[in-house]
Symmetry: C2
Subunit: 270 residues, 2 copies
Amino acid sequence: MHILVTNDDGVMAPGLLALAQAMQSFGQVSVVAPDHNWSISGHVKTLNRPLRVVEATLADGTPALASDGAPSDCVALAVLGLLPEPIDFVVSGINPVPNLGHDLTYSGTVTAAMEAAIWGLPAVAFSLDGPEGEHMSEIDYSPAARVAAEVVSLALKHGIASQTLLSVNIPYRPYEQLHGFQVTRQGLRIYRDALIKRTDPRGKPYYWIGGDAPTGVPEEGTDIGALQAGLVSITPVQLDLTAHQLVADIAAWEWSLAEAPAAPGKDGSA
Amino acid sequence: MHILVTNDDGVMAPGLLALAQAMQSFGQVSVVAPDHNWSISGHVKTLNRPLRVVEATLADGTPALASDGAPSDCVALAVLGLLPEPIDFVVSGINPVPNLGHDLTYSGTVTAAMEAAIWGLPAVAFSLDGPEGEHMSEIDYSPAARVAAEVVSLALKHGIASQTLLSVNIPYRPYEQLHGFQVTRQGLRIYRDALIKRTDPRGKPYYWIGGDAPTGVPEEGTDIGALQAGLVSITPVQLDLTAHQLVADIAAWEWSLAEAPAAPGKDGSA
């Protein structure tokens, strides 16, 4: 069993170390992670520039590889042959903030696991509902790491369906105070971004996407509801984004090339 | 009706111009697009640096705004108040290459439309199955622009369900040779990436993600199958990535904190 560990916070993040240590009881562990933070970076495939890979060492002495690519690039590099042995399982995290609701497609942690699923590998993304404002290195990842070991143990036993992955969100509390596990659906995230306009020393405007941290609707059965109830949330995620329930309805629209209004442009007809 | 036009190829891309022109018959058109190419950039929210916005002019004289953010950032900027009037509808493209199967989460064109859907706006992403290797500026976007006008006309009439968007892929052929429309599901993309290792002038290795362009399984009813049949593919895409069909199965795994194997680490138990 050869497990690839990656993340989006960078190879030196303590959440990565905790996850790598938690995986060691399952077999061989390889770490390929970004050399810097890629949070909210989305699903990236770097094709227009070459990628560098350098050797690194985790705080416990574990050898690792660090790449200047995105988390999904790290998975692609490893799958495509950077590592001498084939990979059997991919884990990503432990992210210090949760990935809930619509966070999934933004999340480097989750899109790394998506990349693994695209390459046919079972994959789990781990995120901690860590305390806001506290420095990453002060977070205690050990309860989340125990949870990660439990999840991977069950995933290895039961398998993860093809073209799917698991996104796990873990409450931030001592292991003994976790209330259990819940398999959930994606909840509704409420973003509270606000645009902040400022002026640089040369009088030119620039903009921050600011505002408050997102909240969410803590509905029963969702990832957001589970975290609020002190439960570890296990969301199965699929690569098929089709809104299947809409296909028949939309097919009933009046589709007809003959009736297409001519667009203004090269044909001069409008 | 105030339509926002964006893309991932940059504000000067001819596909953006064709789309902006095609939208003019529906109402007010505003263009906010990246100042450079963001292909395969994924779903980004730029929070760790400020964004610049400068005035630009499309080739036909249409005023536009160009940002150094990602396509999804352009949508967020516009929604959050960069533009004086509220936005009613968002279109993205026309991308010169198709976005099929698993391309969706990588695609700047599609993730711009996702960002709009997250903000509660109807949105459509347009991609052309353009000729490989040909320079972008040599592509004739006028048939695709007519298709875009037809799709938006029907979407305005029927509405797009909340938390969903449309991803449209258009065969590259004269308008008269298009065979019609098909509402499709996401097909299976086959990536053929290969890792290419090279050595720089200082003897250090670097890596390209190379290999051949992706292919796909042209199954009937899928986006890939539609394009192969000369049909415009309309795929309804949802923001809910939950693999609902797996929730009950995974809930039946032996979830139990008591049985969790202690992870090696801070508690020293392994």
